[in-house]
Symmetry: C2
Subunit: 128 residues, 2 copies
Amino acid sequence: MSNLELKVLDQDAEAVACCSPMVREPLDEEAAADLAKMFKALADPVRLRLLSLIASHEGGEACVCDLTGPFDVSQPTISHHLKVLREAGLVGSERRGTWVYYWVLPAALAKLSSLLQAPAGASAGAAR
Amino acid sequence: MSNLELKVLDQDAEAVACCSPMVREPLDEEAAADLAKMFKALADPVRLRLLSLIASHEGGEACVCDLTGPFDVSQPTISHHLKVLREAGLVGSERRGTWVYYWVLPAALAKLSSLLQAPAGASAGAAR
DNA sequence: TCCTTGTTTCGACGTCTGTCGATACAGCGA
DNA sequence: TCGCTGTATCGACAGACGTCGAAACAAGGA
């Protein structure tokens, strides 16, 4: 198979990738537990859609009342999912008068994004 | 947060990505369900460490025998987690003689990474 | 003040998930 | 061929998770 070549390419690219902690060195136990909490918050279709709804909403923030409509689940369930996202540090929230607004915390997403950065141009059908 | 800016700049070259960041437009139901499966595979400390062990292993691939040592859990449990990673499309595997080798599929990681990319300035009000 | 609307919390329920030991399967070497 | 080592599957179990309806809390208006 081409696995031999594969690994050589991977190794090559790894030298170039400067910001990919997970690929560069094994995660220690504590870091893994910490990161797993964030990924767990993303590991639900409703929460993923909530996050993208918030992030792509005009002004970068959304009222809860904007978020309940698009889903089939009950409003308390939405509230629960928002709480999970908030406690994972992925979103912030604030009450302003009658409504509660949520916004994405870009630093948290960036942290996960950089962690997952894989050597570009490596195997597995990656064009390039 | 200079860290964030740095990150975004670095990923400039990675516009290769297949998906636009979820901050640009809301995920549809189907895409969210699909992505949630991958994030679910990452949502466990043992699997995160397994993935980073594999990715950072010499040659970009690792034998199962290299992966059972660092963990407190049993060998069947490791095997189970590897299966989850494989079925999520995050790693590939192959038996070569006595041993089974696993390697990371960079395209999958890149897909998730690009999805989580946050626009540098967007909702920077997060300083709030 | 009371009522209405928006949001969160509570308690309960069924399902999914991580873990184990026991066991089956796959190659290699004697 | 047999036995040994490496890996995967099976069956079971406790705990975590997503969901709901009911109820509590918060803010504004009549």
